[in-house]
Amino acid sequence: MPFKNNLILAGIVTAIFLAVSCDALAQIPVETAAGSETIEVTDSTGTKFEFGKAPLKVISTSPAITEIICFVGALDTLMGVTTLCDYPEDVKKIEKIGDINLNYEKILQIKPDVVFIMSGLRAKEKEVLESFGIKAFTLELNSFETVFGAIDTLSKIFNKKVNSSSLSRHLCMIKTEIKKKQKQPIRTVYFETWGEPPMTVGNKSFLNDIMKSAFAINVFSDVDSDNFPVSLEKVMEKNPQYIIMAYPGKTSEISIRSGFSGLIAVKDGNIITVDYNIYVRPGPRMVKGVLDLYNKLYSDKPIDPDKIFSK
């Protein structure tokens, strides 16, 4: 009996502590760049950039970057986006400067102060842009850490007040809520990003981060990879409790697979489709993704989004 009392006490103390610390985190002031000193920023490749004043014309070469720019409040500086950028709604009106391939002529026409590129995909483009004398700023976006870091960096560059602190606070609150509600074991998930051929993600993907934060285990977190074509046999062996279908299609396409009828997820009817748009970009909506995923997996004990996001 005393043991149980101690446990309750510990739980209450932890909750209070977490609540206070999360609030405290939100109070950290944002550095405002007062005066007209030049800002020195380093991008993810280690290149140093100097910004004398906040850039007036920028280009984004990736939907995730577009979302981040809009998130920090610099939508009005965005002069060029890709055809794949579709969030928020306003960006659809902005001039398109390419898709997988960049239209350099348009970019030159716009004469941007800086072009933001995502690391890994755009190494070649960076070289080409620099040869035209255009600043190419690389951002790494593959985890909460890097995404939040990028948000803060852009906030600094654009001299804005909005930074990642609200997001990290929300994330913190979600985690707290999860801890409060969780007394049962963590659920295993097979997160399918494509159907034909079947693909999933390993531990180098931001989706892995989302799953971790959402109190789920990615059955393929042992694989050192981002997105990869997966062996269905292995999926069967791992026997996940839940299957997330993060692409357009019907769940029956998965359940009908030969051999899948024996899987727990199929037997219990736990193949879940999600609004995959939230899950395809390592950007500000990742936090939303955590909550969305958690609520889908633990639909018996959902967390009310208003509880988190209205603060």
């Binding site: 051929p197 990869f228 074509p229 062996s231 046999e233 026997n239 051999g259 024996g262």
Partner: protein, 339 residues
Amino acid sequence: MNFKNDGPARVNEATLFALLGLLCFAGVLMSFLLGQVKIPLSEVFNFFFSSKNMMAPFSLYNDILRIRLSRIAVAFITGGGLSLAGVIYQSALNNFLADPFMLGVSAGAALFSAIAISLGLTSSVMITAFAFSGAILSVVFVILISGFKKFSSYNLILSGIALNSFFSSFLTVVMYLSKDMQNIFFWLMGSLTVRHPEQIAYTYIIVAAAGAFVLRYSHMLDILKLNEKTVFSLGVDSAAWKIRFILVASVVSAVIVSQTGIIGFVGLIVPHAARIIIGDRHSVLVPFAFITGGTMLIYCDLISRIIINSMDISIGVITSIVGAPFFILLLYGSKKRGA
């Protein structure tokens, strides 16, 4: 290859087939045993021979074995069929660089399946049907174009290349404009996983029928390789026979491409290798190439399934990695022999 003085030591044809059969059997066995999940031999044995196990549902091993059985069956008929088509093309067109996709089969199948996918058709039966029609239409088109001048292998090949480029550029446009580019792209890469295993049966039937035809008239393929005037002097209508064989081979390629996408190198390499090992007599070359191709693809499939943990690499990648160096070796070897 029971003839003297040419090539490696004189080996009985029967022995060669026996060795090949052994290799194939070993490949099949390994394909059942190995994969991302290791399955003990006893389970495999039970799967085949213990009737009650076959019926038992929800057994992980059985399920996986069922998947592997389907993969092996597809791999064998795909490799075998492509090699069969390859032998026929190479002999009928008298060109060692001919492959089953040459006469527009791949381009037609690719373009039409891309159209099907971008029209929103997701049913694999529909996509297959589109691909097949595209392939056959292309071949017929190629034969008609090249027939305007005097029918010759040279004209056929050129027309095929022209059509391939033409359709490929169309394909690029379709892929670019459609939002299903990823779907199309993956379809093109080739895959041995078929959604409806029953479709494999159709493939087997068609390839078997084609094989029967070719075997029945294998001596005609031999004759087509002789001097042009000799062929004429034998009273053989070489143009008519070439077209017959090409159509049969094209049906085989079309059926396979429409199901599994474009898997390269098999149809080009295996006929060569088979020729080197067993000689030019088609009555043995054709079956030997068929089994060799099927075996090769079984092994390639096995590699694609086990090479990286948890991953299932696209089969086209494996055949390229295995096939490309082999191809270079072949070219080098044939240059030395002065072919």
